[in-house]
């Protein structure tokens, strides 16, 4: 009898909760795990600086996952900001529009460097896109013909590289980092190695040429890491001669365990990335729902706080964590675009 009464009470209680669309009093953010640490620092400092506002909620879930949530619609039970380590795609803007999210504001926060690193016990490593392409591509050109990648050791690719088995831990396909890796390393290396010309002769479609250039070998020597950089670090710890792909900030936090490789002879640092000398970098973004500005308390202030020089300037906490600040003029432009309400 008692449990029957309890059940009824529970049902009534849950029915009472149902249908209450609750107004939200804090900003909700989701998206890229690369932007996550920066967004966390900003969210925390934001709440400390403005005690009237609650700390924004920052979810992880990847650039694509975040943008998907973002494009679910407008209203307090959808997120306000999507963090992304790549520009929003045309198809995602379409999906957003279909769900009623017609006004999206893009905010660039700065640049992120992608570094190659190996265990700290190894000798200095000098990489160029060509060597990485030859070591990691699915098919390479040998004697003018495309064949399945025959190289097993780095020294076979380039005799200056160490005499170690090829083992690379690269970001998985759902990572925003993967795209940069493909563009700036594999596609560039493909061209340098002269493979592009051979592929061009074989395939006429430009998209397919590109796809062939960036295809990564599937024989187990190049391992896709779908988790975070922590997993890549653990793989390097287990296989000392392995090469891993990290974000600059993650590397800087673990510089005692890792040895960073130069690319084209340039050591990655916030300076070389800001000046454009270091080739593998990408812009980081977040996207704001314009319809939520003025509705969700603190959203406008959060964006303004994020884009201020106190946060993304060259001497800011984000820069200290590893974000590469955009040049002064670009930062000014970012702030102006947001203040003017420029939509995509």
């Amino acid at each position: 009898m008692k449990s029957l009464k309890l059940t009824l009470a529970a049902l009534v209680a849950s029915a009472a909760f149902a249908g209450v669309a609750v107004a939200r009093d804090q900003v909700q953010i989701a998206g890229s795990s690369t932007v996550l640490p920066y967004a966390k620092i900003v969210a925390e400092t934001f709440a400390e600086t403005y005690p009237d506002f609650k700390t924004p909620i920052v979810e992880s879930g990847g650039s694509s996952g975040g943008l998907k949530e973002f494009c679910k619609g407008v209203g307090p039970n959808t997120i306000d900001v999507a963090n992304s380590s790549r520009p929003i795609k045309e198809s995602e803007i379409e999906a957003c529009k279909a769900a009623g999210v017609t006004e999206i504001q893009e905010v660039k926060i700065g640049y992120d460097g992608i570094v190659f690193a190996t265990d700290s016990g190894n000798a200095d490593l000098k990489l160029v896109p060509k060597d990485l392409y030859l070591g990691l591509a699915a098919e390479v050109v040998v004697d003018g013909k495309l064949v399945a990648n025959p190289y097993k050791k780095w020294s076979e690719v380039n005799k200056d590289l160490p005499d170690a088995e090829i083992a690379a831990y690269i970001p998985g396909e759902k990572h925003g980092t993967r795209e940069v890796f493909e563009e700036k390393i594999l596609a560039a290396g493909c061209k340098e190695a002269g493979a592009l010309d051979v592929i061009k002769a074989a395939v006429s479609d430009e998209k397919e040429q590109h796809a062939k250039c960036v295809a990564v070998r599937k024989d187990g020597l190049a391992v896709d890491i779908d988790g975070d950089y922590t997993e890549t670090l653990a793989r390097i710890a287990a296989n000392k001669s392995g090469i891993g792909v990290f974000g600059l900030s993650f590397y800087e936090n673990n510089a005692d365990k890792l040895k960073v490789a130069t690319v084209n002879g340039i050591v990655p640092s916030t300076e070389t990335i800001a000046s454009g000398e270091y080739p593998v970098s990408r812009p980081l973004f977040f996207y704001v729902k314009k319809a939520h500005l003025g509705v969700i308390p603190g959203l406008k202030e959060y964006v303004e706080f994020f884009t201020s020089d106190d946060m993304i300037g060259p001497d800011s906490p984000l820069a200290e964590y590893g974000l590469v600040a955009a040049p002064e003029a670009e930062r000014e432009e970012i702030r102006k675009a947001f203040a003017d309400g420029k939509i995509m």
């Binding site: 609750v22 967004a39 925390e44 400390e48 600086t49 979810e59 879930g61 922590t230 936090n253 510089a255």
Partner: protein, 439 residues
């Protein structure tokens, strides 16, 4: 058993050749079987020990936190230069408290106020959370402005790691987060007693933070607690009512068989599926807020229900039919039979099943991912409607952090979660003992 063990003596004594009943072979088989069993247990224990060892050896340091106790001068020059605080209370909120703390530590270490690089290094030794700490002190009692107070502040996460020996200080200075200068100061402060390790209460009270030294499982603990309460309040009565009806009242036909098959199936459905369902029903349809402990609790309720129903039905089945027959024979109605006689006897089994279901729900992260609870939540949730996170989620989030100081916190949070689970299981055993009846 007893026959087998007595017969050899008799058999061997009388006619050993004629009665070959394979005793040796059978004894050997039994010994082998016992050995297999012991090996299996030893294997399990070995892994349990390895797990506990790796967690505890990495995590025990998380329960202590490096702090610096220094006299801090709440200089009017820095906090409120033009004495505006009476008219403009905002002044005390936005004042530059980190500089107050930095100057105090610089004074102790004898760093001059013109040495910019030195001051920056000093600043890197104190946690940024000092801003809120000092602000709270000042807003609670503005009269301390202009005085000097002895305050214990958190050391920076990197310094904490260095003090605990988690940073390899033999590598070149540029390759680590603490400089030789800072290590020197650290040793100097430690000798004078200003820098020491204290019990880490912040680990239990603070919410998530991007600064490892100020991060804690407070929000996650409260979030998990809310969710467990919701799961208990909803799934126990619903689950027990469903099983009593199915077991004691419902006719046995194809339809109830179908229901039984489905319940057993649901118990095996991957938990992420419940997360998808929760997102569609509770957030998109019912309009509940994202990241709220309420939604998490409802999703986990759905996930736990099949487990509780199966356990309850098994417990009800185990009550001997003679109890029911006796009650009915004495004129009790069917409902009286169930609630006065069957249910009390089945209670230990029901409670065990419920607590195992709850413990399972406590350890889930996958269904929480889609409803937005795998998130950075810094504010303590006042009600289940506020955003919260859960203990296993906090462990997962910390495991992905780049800073060294989060390594020990990840293991520390695992220890907290394990203690929670042990307490729940002890509770289950105690309840079972309390209600156990023999017949």
């Amino acid at each position: 058993m007893s026959q087998v063990s007595t017969s050899p003596a008799l058999g061997i004594a009388t006619k050993p050749e004629r009665r070959d009943i394979g005793l040796r072979r059978r004894y050997a088989a039994e010994r082998r079987f016992r050995l297999y069993g012991m090996a299996a247990i030893a294997f399990g224990l070995l892994f349990l020990f390895l797990l506990l060892f790796s967690v505890v050896s990495k995590g025990y340091t998380a329960f202590q936190q490096t702090m610096i106790t220094i006299p801090i001068e709440f200089s009017e020059q820095i906090i409120d230069k033009n004495n505006e605080r009476a008219t403009n209370p905002q002044k005390l909120v936005t004042a530059n408290y980190p500089v107050v703390a930095r100057n105090a530590l610089a004074k102790v270490l004898g760093v001059s106020e013109d040495d910019r690089a030195g001051l920056k290094a000093v600043n890197g030794m104190i946690s940024d959370s000092v801003r809120v700490q000092l602000r709270n002190l000042v807003t609670a009692d503005p009269s301390i402005i202009g005085t000097t107070q002895t305050v214990t502040v958190l050391a920076h996460g990197d310094l904490d790691s260095a003090f605990k020996g988690q940073i390899d200080l033999t590598v070149p200075e540029t390759n680590r987060k603490v400089s030789d200068k800072q290590v020197g100061w650290m040793n100097q402060l430690a000798e004078s007693g200003a820098l020491s390790k204290h019990f880490n209460t912040g680990l239990f009270t603070n919410g998530a933070s991007s600064r490892p030294e100020a991060a804690g499982v407070g929000v996650a603990l409260i979030g998990s607690l809310y969710m467990m309460l919701i799961v208990l309040v909803l799934s126990l009565p619903i689950g027990v009512a469903a099983s009593i009806y199915l077991e004691e009242f419902a006719p046995k036909n194809r339809f109830t068989d179908l229901i039984e098959v489905n319940i057993n199936n649901l118990a095996a459905v991957p938990s992420i599926v419940y997360g998808l369902l929760g997102l569609a029903v509770f957030i998109n349809f019912a309009g509940f807020p994202r990241s709220a402990a309420l939604v998490g609790g409802l999703v986990l309720t759905l996930m736990t229900l099949p487990t509780i129903i199966i356990a309850t039905r098994a417990a009800l089945k185990a009550v001997p039919p003679s109890i029911r027959a006796a009650a009915l024979g004495l004129g009790a109605s069917r409902m009286q039979t169930v609630f006065h006689h069957v249910l009390p006897l089945a209670m230990p089994g029901i409670l065990t099943g419920t607590i195992i279901g709850l413990a399972h729900a406590l350890g889930e992260t996958a269904p929480l991912l889609l409803i937005g609870m795998v998130a950075f939540v810094a504010d303590v949730p006042a009600t289940p409607m506020d955003p919260a996170t859960a203990l296993p989620v906090q462990i997962y989030m910390w495991a992905n952090e780049a800073e060294r100081a989060f390594v020990e916190r990840t293991s520390g949070a695992i220890i907290v979660l394990l203690i929670f689970l042990i307490l729940m299981n002890v509770g289950a055993i105690l309840l079972r003992r309390r209600f156990e009846r023999r017949w």
